[in-house]
């Protein structure tokens, strides 16, 4: 009997040791270079919102009909960017845990593309708003497949074997009995948690509703607010320290803003990989904005425009401006107020408590307007205003009534004439997302500064802004 008891005890000791090893395993894919780390490194999002890697790779094969129609294949259809020789798109990370998991990272929202003309090669620009990425379409894809009849082991495992040659017999058992049903349950939960999105205007590429997902996490109502706004650039963060960050200026700490953004990418207080995030933070402190092509700037005009800029724009939009990084009240700026109203004092209070497995935040506050942003690299930050409702600089300097009320966004061909991305014409219509300024949260009014300048002053001002 003693021998048998010893066997039983030994069995459970070994199981315990193996169990602790398996359950605590968390090995992110490592990248020595900071740019590779930014594009493909983990910030810890896999822990809360990751999808099992082999399954994630197979999903677009099985559910191709669930992806938006458009150019590219697989996840390219939601705007994720693939580099040559890579199996995963930019903005995705891998972490080996109980099973390999894929999550999102900072680059998914902060890497964009540019083409100088329709036939020009695509340039991938780090730190730029992801003008092509449709986060809502990606989430909708995952939400829609959750209760699709094909979401079962018999259908998915053969597909996984096709895309993942390393998928073993042991993986198959694990996936069949645990990973696939657990993922399905998680996606059904995602479907229900994000139902609030279904009754709001489509966000389209390059935009995100930043704070309504937070409300779901902390358990408060999203109400009928629409917080959809443009993805920002993330270069030159050092001079932004202390400024009122986010579109409504609700946080003045770059570090805390970064953590908040990492939560938005899917991390939680428990899963956040702070050293990995710090690497990105240190890098973007001094990451420079790409310059507008020099040969496309009329130097004489730009020189003349500097004075117009100094007189009309610099106070709010120059790094040294008196009002830069400060909030202009909504009554003064007059732009669409939905994004402002979507961030509430109730949410500030919850963020301070650290509920819902969020870190405790201490720098968030409720403001009454929108923050004046420095305009470094502004040529790549089109469309303009916080909600991306004005396609080009030329349109922004036009009175609101003359700004386009419908245009296309998500096209990466540059419009060198109007200064912004191509937003009209047949190519834009074929590949872009139709943005309708009459929808809630999409208003293109307000920010009338400079709209009464003479045509010549506007021309010189735009030429100068290209140099920022």
């Amino acid at each position: 009997m003693k021998i048998r008891i010893a066997i039983v005890v030994g069995w459970f000791v070994v199981l315990g040791v193996v169990g602790v090893f398996v359950m605590t395993r968390s090995d992110p894919e490592k990248h020595a270079g900071i740019e590779e780390h930014f594009k493909y490194g983990s910030i810890g999002a896999e822990g809360r919102s990751g999808v099992p890697a082999s399954l994630w790779l197979a999903l677009p094969e099985v559910f191709a009909d669930r992806l938006p129609k458009g150019p590219g294949k697989g996840y390219e259809r939601v705007g994720l960017l693939y580099e040559k020789g890579k199996t995963r798109p930019i903005g995705t990370s891998f972490r080996e845990a109980q099973t390999g998991m894929i999550g999102l990272n900072c680059a998914v929202c902060h890497v964009g593309t540019l083409r100088a003309s329709k036939d020009a090669p695509r340039q991938i620009i780090l730190g730029m708003p992801a003008n092509q990425f449709n986060l809502q379409a990606y989430l909708d894809f995952l939400r829609n497949i959750a209760d699709d009849r094909r979401f079962n082991a018999d259908t998915l495992i053969p597909a996984i074997k096709k895309v993942d040659p390393d998928f073993s017999r042991a993986d198959e058992v694990l996936y069949r009995h645990y990973v696939i049903p657990r993922t399905k349950a998680a996606l059904l939960q995602l479907r229900d948690d994000f139902q609030w999105m279904d009754v709001r205007p489509a966000e389209g590429p390059g935009r995100v509703d930043t704070f309504n997902p937070y409300k779901v996490i902390v358990g408060i109502s999203t109400g009928d607010t629409v917080g959809t706004s443009d993805l920002p650039s993330i270069w030159n963060q050092r001079p932004r320290e202390g400024m009122q960050l986010h579109w409504d200026g609700n946080n003045d700490s770059v570090a805390e803003r970064n953590i908040s953004a990492a939560i938005g990418a899917g991390a939680s207080a428990d899963s956040l990989d702070e050293p990995a995030l710090k690497r990105v933070r240190d890098w973007i402190l001094d990451l420079k904005a790409p310059r507008y092509p020099r040969q496309r700037i009329d130097k004489e005009l730009a020189a003349r425009g500097e004075g117009v800029w100094a007189e009309n724009c610099a106070a709010c939009h120059s790094f040294k401006g008196k009002l830069v990084g400060k909030v202009t009240p909504i009554n003064a700026i007059g732009t669409d107020r939905d994004r402002l109203d979507s961030f509430t004092q109730e949410l500030v209070d919850k963020q301070g408590e650290g509920t819902g497995n969020l870190p405790k935040f201490s720098h968030f506050r409720k403001t009454n307007g929108y923050s004046n942003q420095p305009l470094d690299g502004v040529w790549l930050r089109a469309p303009y205003l916080h909600n991306g409702s004005v396609p080009t600089l030329e349109d922004l300097l036009s009175p609101p009534a003359q700004r386009p009320d419908r245009f296309y966004r998500g096209v990466d061909i540059y419009d060198w004439e109007r200064v912004g991305f191509t937003s009209r014409g047949s190519t834009a219509k074929r590949t872009g997302f139709l943005f309708d300024t009459s929808k809630q949260g999409n208003g293109n009014g307000g920010h009338t500064y400079g709209t009464d300048l003479s045509a010549d002053d506007k021309r010189t001002l735009i030429e100068y802004i290209k140099t920022l």
Partner: protein
């Protein structure tokens, strides 16, 4: 006494095999049956070693112990998996794609 011990080893062996069959067919589906049966099999397998056993009985006892350990562990894993998966959704309920709204925008 020896016959009784040999008998409990045999019962443990049968129970362990039953549990393994349940797990092979349903895994998480019937863990609430498999877990107590596996536990009983394990207890019987351990207790069957309290007297002098020889020959076939000894072998049956150790085989029962080994299988009941595997069965109990498998049932426990099935229970953990099922509890971990459960979020109030029926993960085997599927709808036809044609019945669903085309949400991707």
């Amino acid at each position: 006494m020896g016959a009784a011990k040999s008998g409990s080893a045999f019962v443990a062996l049968v129970l362990a095999v039953v549990v393994l069959v349940i797990l092979a067919i349903t895994f998480r589906g019937l863990w609430f049956i498999a877990l107590p049966l596996g536990f009983i099999a394990l207890i019987l397998a351990v207790r069957s070693g309290s007297g002098p056993l020889r020959g076939v009985s000894l072998v049956v006892g150790y085989v029962a112990l080994l299988l009941s350990l595997v069965a109990f562990t498998g049932a426990a894993l099935a229970a953990v998996a099922d509890i971990s998966i459960d979020r109030g959704y029926d993960v085997y309920e599927n709808s036809d794609p044609a019945d669903q709204p085309a949400l991707p925008r």
